[in-house]
């Protein structure tokens, strides 16, 4: 199973992958490259990763999610390479029998991903300059 890829993220496919006749709630998070009003004119972000380790961390996160919410079905895709403003860089879908758990488990996966998975972003500005984005999550910080 591979969580990283270069192709655009297909949300409907991700939702379909967690579909289960016993599950009534699916929560999906989609992270998108954004043009922040305070940080200058970002046009795209180049995503790179320590791919082997990122896959391994993601396997662990999904395992821990299933321990914590037994029976939860989780699908995740993180895109690498150049992603322009407005396109999705990551999507997480979680289905559970009831909706509260789907929201909680989906949030958990996203927070763990941010904390643990070795992926980096280099911002490309309108004027051709680049900037490593490691002073917080520009395109969708926690607060």
């Amino acid at each position: 199973m591979t969580f990283l890829g270069r192709d655009p993220i297909d949300i409907a496919d991700l939702a379909a992958r967690v579909s289960d006749p016993g599950h009534g709630g699916t929560a999906i998070f989609v992270g998108t490259v954004r043009r922040s009003p305070d940080d200058g004119p970002v046009v795209a972000i180049d995503y790179s990763g320590y791919e082997e380790m990122a896959e391994s961390e993601l396997v662990q996160i999904l395992g821990q999610t299933q321990e914590r919410w037994p029976g939860a079905r989780v699908a995740l895709q993180h895109r690498l390479g150049r992603i322009v403003v407005g396109e999705a860089s990551v999507a997480v879908a979680v289905s559970t029998p009831h909706r509260a758990q789907a929201f909680e488990a989906c949030r958990y996966v996203v927070e763990e991903l941010k904390k643990r998975v070795p992926i980096w972003k280099k911002e490309l500005m309108e004027d051709g300059q680049t900037r490593w984005s490691d002073d917080g999550d520009r395109e969708e910080a926690a607060k």
Binding site: L113, R116, I119, W132, D137
Partner: protein, 85 residues
Amino acid sequence: MEAIIQIRCSLFARYAELAGCDSITVDVPEGATVEAAVAAVRERMPNGEQLPDRPMVAVNLEHAMPGTKLRQGDELALLPPLAGG
């Protein structure tokens, strides 16, 4: 006499850019800590003085502490602050 081991250290993102390369191999005594190996990498790597005091580190694809001991064949990696998602 103390055995010497080779530790290959991968560099990513801003650290790879800083060094101008993707990996550095350093010689350390067997059982050296991550901290000691990082010090050796810092010394050897171009612009190594610009690394943070305690960069985030992985050993064999797992996040690791400065006190972790290294053996021949371990894969070290220096991880810039994470920014996935």
